[in-house]
């Protein structure tokens, strides 16, 4: 029973992440930098990491990338998306587990956004055989500070409520 509960909950999280990803592509950004986005679905991955742990976080982020490719139908953005998702998941988990006395969830989320950008730019420069793509990285880093801050802020409230409401389910 417990396992089924968890499975349903994780699939719900994947669905929320997908909906957020589709939604955020409809929100225009005031700055025109290719690759800059709000990263709302990062919220879901961060929450999964905190509430369920590393393994489920990776599963959610990978499922989200694959399903988003099936929805939008663009394979090249899938390669960027999945590399960023996996790398940022690993970085966020390490930051959350070993540095949680230094950083709150805001810091963890900013680190994840930075890792996401770094992975994406690295993959882009590898795919285009052009190292000059790295010139985007400082701009993306500044943008990811803002988005990472608000994603972290939102995640703090989500985690707080989730932990109190679902304690009986998952921490028996």
């Amino acid at each position: 029973m417990k396992r089924l509960n968890k499975m349903i909950f994780i699939s719900l999280l994947v669905a929320i992440g997908l909906a957020l990803s589709v939604l955020e592509s409809a929100i225009p950004l005031p700055i025109a930098i290719p690759g800059a986005k709000l990263g709302l679905s990062n919220m879901v991955i961060l929450v999964t990491l905190v509430v369920f742990g590393f393994k489920d976080g990776i599963i959610v982020s990978m499922l989200k990338s694959v399903l988003l490719m099936l929805i939008t139908g663009s394979v090249s953005s899938f390669i960027y998306s999945i590399s960023g998702a996996i790398f940022s998941c690993i970085v966020m988990f390490i930051a959350y587990k070993y540095l949680s006395n230094v950083f709150s969830l805001i810091g963890v989320s900013i680190l994840g956004a930075l890792a996401h950008n770094t992975a994406q730019v690295s993959v882009a420069s590898f795919m285009l055989h052009n190292l000059k793509i790295y010139a985007y990285l400082p701009f993306l880093m500044l943008v990811s500070l803002f988005t990472g801050y608000f994603v972290g802020l939102a995640s703090i409230y989500i985690v707080k409520n989730l932990k109190t409401n679902y304690k009986m389910l998952f921490y028996k």
């Binding site: 663009s74 950083f103 400082p138």
Partner: protein
């Protein structure tokens, strides 16, 4: 928001501004282009821009005619020619990659080229 978060934010802002400055400096140092002088389709001279050679003139005397090329600060022009219409002299300086000066009677082409090979991708969509 803990102290570590604030430190991280400040650190990232400083890092990104420093690297932006570095990138701007790199982008405006134009050491990645050169002048290619071609006569009758073959490259006869290759000149890389340098501060030391500003103002030097290069006489180019071939079997087709005579041109005098002057190198400026990241730009190049033709100041003398023995062709009848002198279109190449009137054109003045060229400085950007891809620009050309052509003197048809003397079968001479001066072109500014990038040192790096262009990637073959025209457009990237994602």
């Amino acid at each position: 928001m803990t102290k570590g978060d604030k430190l991280l934010i400040v650190f990232v802002i400083i890092l990104s501004f420093l690297s932006m400055g570095y990138i701007n400096k790199q982008a405006f140092s134009n050491d990645s282009k050169y002048v290619s002088v071609q006569v009758n389709g073959k490259e006869v001279k290759k000149i890389i821009f340098d501060k030391k050679i500003i103002g030097t003139t290069i006489p180019l005397k071939t079997e087709y005619g005579y041109n005098l090329i002057e190198i400026g600060d990241e730009k190049v022009r033709v100041i003398e020619a023995d062709c009848p219409d002198k279109i190449d002299v009137k054109q003045g300086y060229i400085s950007r990659i891809g620009e050309t000066i052509v003197c048809l009677p003397n079968k001479m082409v001066i072109e500014i080229k990038g040192l790096e090979e262009d990637t073959e991708i025209d457009i990237m969509n994602h």
